[in-house]
Amino acid sequence: MNAPRRHSTALRDPAWLRTLLLTIALAFVALFLVLPLIAVFGYAIEKGFDVYLASVTDEDARSAIRLTLLVAAISVPANTIFGVAAAWLITRFTFSGKNLLVSLIDLPFAVSPVIAGLIYVLLFGAQSSLGSWLIAHDIKIIFAVPGIVLATTFVTFPFVARELIPLMQAQGSEEEQAALTLGAGGWSMFWRVVLPKIGWGLAYGVILCNARAIGEFGAVSVVSGHIRGVTNTMPLHVEILYNEYNRTAAFAVASLLALLALATLAVKQLVGWRMRRAEPEHDAA
């Protein structure tokens, strides 16, 4: 009768410690996470809803939004196709150099975004031989849209593959084997067996990849050239507006990015919940 109670009290922190730790943790979260989040929306609507709407639909803001969506629409699908292919390759086959390949896929995470931008400037910039050839043929990569797409793709390169590799490793290939035994072709096996199996993990990877692609600042800043209405993405536009003391407009555009961040967090929770439901044995553990 006494034993179970002793168990539970032994594992409970005393009330004073509990209160102390909880207070520190909550104060930290309030100061560092909640307050900035509220501030973004607060500053955005500080001059009223009309000003907010005008800032968001301003010509330069609209072109920044269009460019950001365009960049994400190219680099996210490209990285998704690569991620699925690389995860299939790494989890379903054995070949020499596999560990090296896994490390190389992670490499862009180790490279600072600013350096990611710099390597493309070095490769395609006017001072390189490739760059002078490009200029002679009137092809613009750096300080133009292709450079922004490349830098964004580099920075978001590992997201999908990283999410899929451990998932597909854990899932094994039983179902794929069964589908092949039953006579399915390679592609029909992929669409009808593999894709449904990895669906939620894939969705999670794509969401993270998309959030980063839309929010990337450092790498894009180096290759963009900050030409307003032409090579200005949303994060760059936010910074320019803020440095021009146009605080309300800066936070109006920033609030769109913050909404996207909140949507990303919400979808992340949803996907985590669905994935836990999909593996009941995981819950029991």
Partner: protein, 261 residues
């Protein structure tokens, strides 16, 4: 025919070709360009470029602020993870979700928000300046921004370890007469060290990477050689941090397997 019961899965050639060519195009060739460029700089010129007074000052700020931010998170990250795993309170799930905010919120947004909050006329900056300190546009401000950026790494590396911690060690400690605080510091904390250090290394690497304004300001002057040299230094530090992470994880696995024995 009968011998091979398992079918060979299709797609090896396709996925190998696609993965390698995409990897080469996006990552390897551009990084190779950086390596080539830094190789054309003579060793003396390289040394001079990475040791200019401006570069040295920027290392101090970068590594100093990144280390300080990492240390703050070294204490508060595991504390937050402990509260989220062990305590039940209203809003716990919401806070748990919110911990990932710095991953999801674009740095530009975080940057201007923290600047606005801590500026002389901002709601927090006004208080702090009344007390005689200045935060915005100072190393303190950079440190605060880096604490924000690197917070999730510490929490998310410690959290899973705490969740899987077996209660029997704590019970044993309590049975043997240890107070709760002693148990926390002497029994639970040691099992968390590998995760805490991994999180710290990740946080530090991210903080160093995030702060690259030196290179930006050098690029404006079209000093490509100098920018390249400093880029190589920052890259080497990031790689060293990643190597440390891998070694730490190896250490963790070894510890686990020796404990299981």
């Amino acid at each position: 025919m009968r011998r091979r019961r398992r079918h060979a899965l299709p797609g090896f050639g396709l996925t190998l070709g696609l993965s390698l060519s995409y990897l080469a195009l996006i990552v390897l060739i551009p990084l190779g360009a950086l390596a080539l460029k830094s190789a054309t700089i003579g060793p003396l010129e390289f040394w001079n470029a990475v040791t200019t007074p401006r570069a040295l000052a920027s290392y101090r700020v970068t590594f100093g602020c990144a280390a300080l931010a990492g240390l703050v998170n070294l204490v508060l990250g595991p504390l937050l993870a402990w509260v989220l795993v062990r305590y039940r309170f209203p809003g716990r799930k919401l806070i748990d979700a919110l911990v990932d905010l710095p991953f999801a919120l674009p740095t530009a947004v975080a940057g201007i928000t923290l600047t606005a909050l801590y500026a002389s006329n901002g709601p927090l900056g006004r208080w702090i300046e009344a007390a005689g300190y200045k935060v915005a546009y100072t190393p303190t401000g950079i440190t605060i921004a880096l604490i924000f950026v690197s917070l999730p790494f510490l929490v998310r590396s410690v959290q899973p370890v705490l969740e899987q911690l077996e209660p029997d060690i704590e019970e044993a400690a309590a049975t043997l007469g240890a107070g709760r605080l002693t148990t926390l510091v002497r029994v639970i904390l040691p099992t968390l060290w590998p995760a805490i250090l991994t999180g710290f290394a990740l946080a530090f690497a991210r903080a160093v990477g995030e702060y690259g304004s030196v290179i930006l300001s050098k690029l404006d002057a079209y000093d490509y050689a100098g920018a390249t040299a400093i880029a190589v230094v920052l890259l080497l530090v990031s790689f060293a941090a990643l190597l440390a992470i891998n070694l730490l994880q190896l250490w963790t696995v070894r510890r686990r397997s020796s404990e299981a024995r």
